[in-house]
Symmetry: C2
Subunit: 446 residues, 2 copies
């Protein structure tokens, strides 16, 4: 007979949970409610025995009366009363790091949903886990309810990944989806998202793209076997996306999505996070609202797409629980896919051309010859223009210093280098034909 | 230090592969080529040491000179020279079953891509594996390169699945996709699919829906914890789908897909395989050509969609390899998600209404009052008609016995019971207003 149905059955796995926000409280509720069914499935009992949080008295809709209480998550992590430590505190340093470190150093398995912690300390934590023989699970840290970590660590056989990309932030995807459905601005949308609980009071971490960058850096390491490098990512957020951009995208058969994308080249890794024009028929274009999706392009498996809820208490708690179940079963995988001593030092690929061209929106002064001069400047640098759109309904008000009227012009280029486009736009600005900053969005032919 | 990087490292895992078709040959090639990289990742060497196939001399593009050769797969399965047996012979009984049984009974782990074998003998094989302590992997048996078995067995925490559905047969999806792109018949499309190697010489197992049914029955067991019941599935294939059906679907904002769908109700499980109208904006509608997709609707995770290649040597071999790697790492999970003694006896849910209505195409005699009489008959049974379409370009030639001309009429109903629709159509046929068999396709509002 096997482990899962016999020998370990006698000893329940005792869980300590630090952080009782939405995910933590949901996890405790699931384990209290579904304990019998899980025991049947696993052949081993899983029980929450201890918790740590800021406020002991707050009503979380769960019964914590019978659980041991800790004010200090590090004390919980080291407590004799638990076999596995779940970290749901958040934050890249502070008590989350201290507690996870304490548990791993003593060989105690850890499950965390903390992408910031992983992005910053992932390699060090993996090394601690490997040295002490502890497991480290973090399925919930990337794309909440989607089992992408498990797929990358265990599900791909020998398939080599060439590119990974996806929609990994529900707040941004909700805002961009709403802007595509209704004629409202980014600011209005953000307010609604905050009211609905889809965005934080301080939304900058999400809307400026850093949350996506953290998650991307973790996926990139699992995909390519390089050390985690969250600081080597070109990051742009969505706060400058306007209705004009959304409308032109729709008219031309695209949607705008905030994508995180990492690609392996012969000479290193490229990681980018930015708003992107994606074709309407592409798989990621169909992923709307707070849903997330991750696409894996491999040599053997071609493309694999995983789509599902990226956040929320139940999906995230369910991912935390899947890590707990793996640990309860005795599953052992190196936290970052390969043993940490096999990880390669991060190597950034040089900037290069891409296949899809660029969308450029700019405010040209309404003077004769302005458009011709702009087009000529681009031609000088070998940039081919695929479409030019100038329509009254796309007009974005701009205040020229000299009070002159402006016209909004949209250009779509063919394949070219981003540096070339930026140099060309700088020159056009110096010529005095445009007002304000041009909008520049990559087109990806996914 | 952990298992994967230390103690087992010294002993290579010796693999025996029975069946050297496309998948088997690809697997041997991958293991011979990527062995060093896999060893680094796993901390343990994996080597193919023995093979069995029908012809020893056939050129498969791999070097089998150094491998032990077996004419009899059962002898290979029992051989002292292997630690793990891979079955890629195919067929629900015969040598595949005999060899898998022989290996499991002696406690030797088995990996197979054989859905027919699993559908018929899955519960018995799981029981053998649990009794002898052997692992049984079959990731490649359902949706080739998509890690859906792993996701269901290990990736969902305590999420309860309410419904599973998907596109699980690449041959059918290729044919339906081509018919949507070009004005060609099912028969022409099938011929092309055969020429391209996407369909077998005898295509009936695929196009009649039985391959999908086998895969669905395996997924349903992993989702709902009931015994596998491939014979309790309502199965319809795609051979009767015409260009008229495809065109009406497109005009009304749908695509036609062959879906397998299993749903849990209070009073049992419903399993069905049939062509389905799916809304163009739905996730499965975007899955075209030989791609597969499986959607899991859960209480906790809402909907999870996994899409990717459903067949082909490299993706399927990669899934086989992911099972081998799990076994090499010592991962232990009950083959069918829960220990086989916990599986419930299959309970079929009674037929019931569904949300999407029906598409009905029929050939009405071109006589005054025919359409009114048909509509009246439907009204008598409480069937609400949502649309009626009668257009010259949709005309399907039908030969009335009395030589009278006919007109093709398409009706879309609102929600109703399939039995009610069938009873109504039988009565309309008895009235003598229609010629030939009506086409009846479910609409699912996914």
């Amino acid at each position: 007979m096997q482990d899962f149905s016999d020998s370990v059955a006698a000893t329940p796995l005792r869980i300590g949970v630090a952080g009782l926000g939405n995910v933590g409280a949901t996890l405790v509720r699931i384990l209290q409610k579904d304990g019998v069914e899980l025991t049947k499935k696993l052949g081993r009992q899983i029980v929450v025995t201890a918790v740590a949080a800021r406020s002991r008295s707050r009503d979380r809709g769960i019964d914590i009366a019978g659980l041991e209480w800790f004010d200090d998550p590090v004390a919980l992590a080291k407590s004799d009363g638990i076999d596995l430590f779940v970290e749901l505190i958040g934050g890249e340093d502070g008590p989350a790091f201290a507690a996870v470190k304490a548990a791993l150093e003593m060989g105690r398995p850890v499950v965390t949903a903390n992408k910031a912690l992983l992005a910053k300390h992932g390699v060090a934590l993996a090394r601690m886990a490997e040295e002490s023989g502890a497991q480290l699970g973090f399925e919930a840290a990337v794309a909440g309810g989607i089992p992408v970590i498990k797929t990358l660590r265990e599900g791909l056989g020998s398939a080599r990944i060439a590119r990974v990309y996806g929609i990994m932030n529900g707040t941004c995807n909700y805002i961009l989806t709403r802007m595509g459905q209704e004629d409202i601005s980014f600011a209005e949308c953000l307010k609604d998202a905050q009211a609905l609980g889809y965005a934080e009071a301080d939304p900058s971490f999400d809307v400026d793209g850093f949350d996506t960058a953290h998650k991307l850096s973790i996926l990139a390491t699992l995909c390519f076997g390089y050390e985690i490098a969250p600081d080597k990512i070109h990051v742009e957020g969505i706060s400058k996306i306007t209705q004009a951009d959304i409308k032109v995208a729709a008219d031309l058969g695209y949607k705008i999505k905030l994508l995180g994308m990492a690609q392996r080249y012969e000479d290193g890794i490229e990681q980018r996070v930015h708003p992107t024009f994606v074709p309407k028929g592409s798989a990621v274009a169909g992923v709307d609202g707070v849903m997330n999706a991750v696409a894996l392009e491999t040599d053997h498996v071609h493309e694999l797409l995983l789509a599902g809820p990226g956040a929320g208490g139940p999906p995230t708690a369910s991912s935390v629980l899947s890590d707990i179940l793996d640990i309860a079963r005795g599953t052992r995988v190196p936290p970052l896919g390969v043993p940490s001593q096999e990880l390669l030092p991060y190597k950034q690929a040089p900037l290069r051309a891409h296949d899809g061209g660029f969308y450029i929106r700019l405010n040209a002064k309404d003077v004769p010859g302005a458009l011709a001069a702009i087009a000529a400047r681009m031609g000088e640098r070998g940039i081919s223009i695929e479409s030019v759109i100038q329509r009254p309904d796309l007009h974005v008000k701009a205040n020229a210093a000299d009070g002159q009227p402006t016209r909004t012009v949209v250009l779509l280029t063919q394949q070219t280098l981003e540096t070339t486009v930026r140099e060309s736009l700088a020159q056009i600005a110096a010529d005095g034909f445009i007002v304000g900053e041009p909008q520049l969005i990559r087109i990806e032919l996914l």
